[in-house]
C-alpha cells in the first residue's frame, strides 16, 4: 500500500473552459477554486467572493446554464464547461432583463451580492420551478444580502418571472 506524497506546488493540469463565449486553454493547479481562477487569474472580478464556504451565494455563476457556487468548485473538475459570469450577462447599453429589473426595483444597496443574485435569478428563471412569490423567495434563499434588500430583490425577480410568463403565453 502506498501513500502518495503530495505533488509540489508547481503541479498543474491542462483544462479548457469557455468563459462568456471565449475559449480558454488553462493550466490550473488542482487546488484552485473557480472563483479564484476567475478573479485572480482571469481578472473577471465581477464574480464576488463573500464567505468562500458556499453559505452566501455571492460567487454564483452559471455553468452549462446551471447556477452554482464557484467557491466550492475546483476548476480542474469542470474541464470542458461553458461558464457565464456577470461580465457575460449583459452590457451597459444592453442590460439583461434581470439587470434591468434590479435597477428598476432598486434591488440593492452596496451591490456586493448583486452579481451573484443576478446569476442566481437567471438560473432560477431557466429552471422554471418558481410560480409564486413564496417560491421565488425560497428558490433565491441561497443568496444572502447583508443590506437586506430582499423585498426589492424578490420584486425584481417576480417582475421578470411574470413578464416571461406573459411572453411564453403570447
Amino acid at each position: 500500500m502506498q501513500s502518495t506524497a503530495p505533488r509540489p506546488s508547481g503541479f498543474t493540469v491542462p483544462i479548457d473552459l469557455t468563459i462568456n463565449g471565449q475559449s480558454n486553454h488553462l493550466d490550473v493547479a488542482p487546488w484552485t477554486t473557480l472563483v479564484d481562477l476567475l478573479r485572480e487569474d482571469l481578472q473577471l472580478t465581477g464574480t464576488k467572493k463573500g464567505c468562500d464556504h458556499g453559505q452566501c451565494g455571492a460567487c454564483t455563476v452559471l455553468i452549462d446554464g446551471v447556477r452554482l457556487n464557484s467557491c466550492l468548485i475546483l476548476a480542474v473538475t469542470r474541464n470542458g464547461a461553458d461558464i457565464t459570469t456577470i461580465e457575460g450577462v449583459g452590457t451597459l447599453d444592453n442590460l439583461h432583463p434581470v439587470q434591468r429589473a434590479f435597477v428598476e426595483h432598486d434591488a440593492l444597496q452596496c451591490g456586493y451580492c448583486t452579481p451573484g443574485q443576478i446569476c442566481s435569478a437567471i438560473g432560477l428563471l431557466r429552471e422554471g420551478k418558481a410560480t409564486s412569490r413564496a417560491e421565488v423567495r425560497e428558490l433565491m434563499s441561497g443568496n444572502l444580502c447583508r443590506c437586506g434588500a430582499y423585498t426589492n430583490i424578490a420584486d425584481a425577480v417576480e417582475d421578470v418571472l411574470f413578464e416571461s410568463h406573459r411572453e411564453a403565453a403570447e
Binding site: 500500500m1 502506498q2 501513500s3 502518495t4 506524497a5 503530495p6 505533488r7 509540489p8 506546488s9 503541479f11 493540469v13 488542482p30 487546488w31 477554486t33 468562500d52 464556504h53 458556499g54 451565494g57 454564483t60 446551471v66 447556477r67 452554482l68 457556487n69 466550492l72 468548485i73 475546483l74 480542474v76 473538475t77 442566481s120 438560473g123 432560477l124 429552471e127 420551478k129 409564486s132 413564496a134 417560491e135 423567495r137 425560497e138 428558490l139 434563499s141 441561497g142 443568496n143
Partner: protein, 338 residues
C-alpha cells in the same frame, strides 16, 4: 488548502483501484462538502480522485417499480424527477428542504450520503474532536451543543448527521449499492450510517476502498400519506434542529404501514420499528401520535444546550403524523405549518 495529487479515472474499477491503493486518497464529485472541509484543513487528502467521469449519472426505472439513482445524479435532478415526484414525493420534499438551489445543483446523491457532520468543533481544528482526531476528546460535550444529538450519542461524540435526503431514504428503506476491491455489495439504508460508539471517526459502514455507485428505492408506499417536516433556526437554507419524515399506508382511516425517520437528532437517521409497529391497525387519534412520539423519544437525553430538542421533537412528530394521515404534506416553499 493543503496541496494534493489529482487523477480523473474513467470507470468505477479504476476509481476503486486508486482509492484502495492510497491511504490518503479521497473522492470528489460535486465538491460542496469536501472542498469546504479542505479549506478548513479538516480534510487534507494526498490524492483527490475526481469521479465525475464515471457513468453513474442516470435515474433508472426498475422493472418491478422503484428507481435506481446513480451516485452522480445531482440532488436537484432527483428532487424534480417526474417519477420520483409521483411515486416518492417524500424524497423530493426532503431534498428541497435542504441546502440552497446552487448547492443542490452541485451536490450528488452519493455525496449527500457521505457528507460530514456540521458540528462546530469538528470544523474547527484548534479544538479537540474525536471524529476529526480520534482520542483527542469531544468539545461539544459540556460545550456549545445546541445542534447536537439527543439519541444514540456516546461519551466520544454527540454529532448529528446533517442530511435531509437521508432521512427520507431511511423512511423509504432504500438500499445503497457499493463497489470495492472485493466486488459489489448492497447495504440496507438502516445499516449504512452508524452510531458513534467509541469510533466516531467512522460515519458509515463502507469498507476501505469502497465507492457508493447508486441508491435503490423499491418499496411502493402510498404517495398520498407522507410529509417531511423540518424545523430550524431560520426558515430556509439551514440545517435541521429536528426533522421528521413520515410515510404511511392507509386503508381507509386505518394505518396499514408506518415508516417514520427523524433527522437532526442522531449520528444517523433515527427509526424505531417497534414504535412504528404499534401504529399499524390504528384509526389514529392525537393520543396515538403522542404515544408514538413518547415511545420513540423514551431513550432521548439532552446535553444542556440541546435539551429543548426533546419536547420540540415530540411536537414535531405529532404534527408530522397529523399531516401525513390527513394527506396534507408540508410544502417546502410555504413556511406555515399545517
Amino acid at each position: 488548502m493543503k496541496r494534493f495529487d489529482y487523477i480523473k479515472p474513467t470507470n468505477v474499477d479504476e476509481a476503486v483501484a486508486a482509492l484502495a491503493s492510497n491511504v490518503g486518497a479521497q473522492l470528489i464529485a460535486g465538491g460542496t462538502n469536501i472542498v469546504d472541509l479542505m479549506k478548513y484543513d479538516v480534510a487534507a487528502p494526498s490524492l483527490l480522485i475526481d469521479i465525475n467521469g464515471l457513468a453513474l449519472k442516470d435515474i433508472e426505472a426498475l422493472p418491478k417499480g422503484g428507481f435506481r439513482i446513480g451516485a452522480l445524479v445531482s440532488n436537484t435532478d432527483i428532487a424534480y424527477h417526474d417519477g420520483i415526484q409521483r411515486h416518492y414525493p417524500l424524497l423530493s420534499s426532503a431534498i428541497l428542504a435542504g441546502a440552497s438551489p446552487q448547492l443542490r445543483n452541485a451536490a450528488t446523491a452519493g455525496g449527500n450520503l457521505l457528507q460530514r457532520t456540521r458540528c462546530y468543533y469538528f470544523y474547527d481544528p484548534s479544538t479537540p474532536c474525536n471524529k476529526r482526531q480520534p482520542g483527542s476528546g469531544c468539545s461539544a460535550i459540556g460545550g456549545v451543543n445546541r445542534i447536537h444529538a439527543i439519541l444514540g450519542a456516546s461519551p466520544s461524540c454527540i454529532a448529528v448527521h446533517p442530511s435531509d435526503m437521508c432521512v427520507a431514504l431511511a423512511a423509504l428503506d432504500a438500499v445503497v449499492e457499493v463497489t470495492g476491491p472485493n466486488g459489489r455489495r448492497e447495504i440496507a439504508f438502516a445499516d449504512f450510517h452508524r452510531l458513534p460508539g467509541d469510533t466516531p471517526e467512522k460515519d458509515n459502514t463502507l469498507a476501505f476502498g469502497e465507492i457508493v455507485t447508486g441508491i435503490r428505492i423499491e418499496g411502493q408506499p402510498d404517495p398520498t400519506h407522507h410529509t417531511y417536516l423540518k424545523l430550524r433556526d431560520r426558515l430556509s437554507y439551514a440545517f435541521a434542529l429536528i426533522s421528521v419524515a413520515v410515510s404511511l399506508d392507509m386503508d381507509q382511516r386505518v394505518i396499514s404501514g408506518a415508516r417514520v425517520a427523524l433527522g437532526g437528532v442522531a449520528h444517523k437517521p433515527w427509526r424505531d420499528r417497534q414504535a412504528e409497529a404499534a401504529l399499524i391497525g390504528r384509526d389514529p387519534s392525537e393520543s396515538d401520535f403522542r404515544t408514538f412520539a413518547t415511545t420513540l423519544l423514551a431513550p432521548a437525553k439532552g446535553q444542556g444546550g440541546n435539551d429543548f430538542k426533546i419536547p420540540l421533537a415530540e411536537k414535531a412528530i405529532v404534527r408530522a403524523l397529523r399531516q401525513a394521515v390527513a394527506g396534507t404534506p408540508q410544502v417546502q416553499s410555504v413556511k406555515a405549518i399545517a
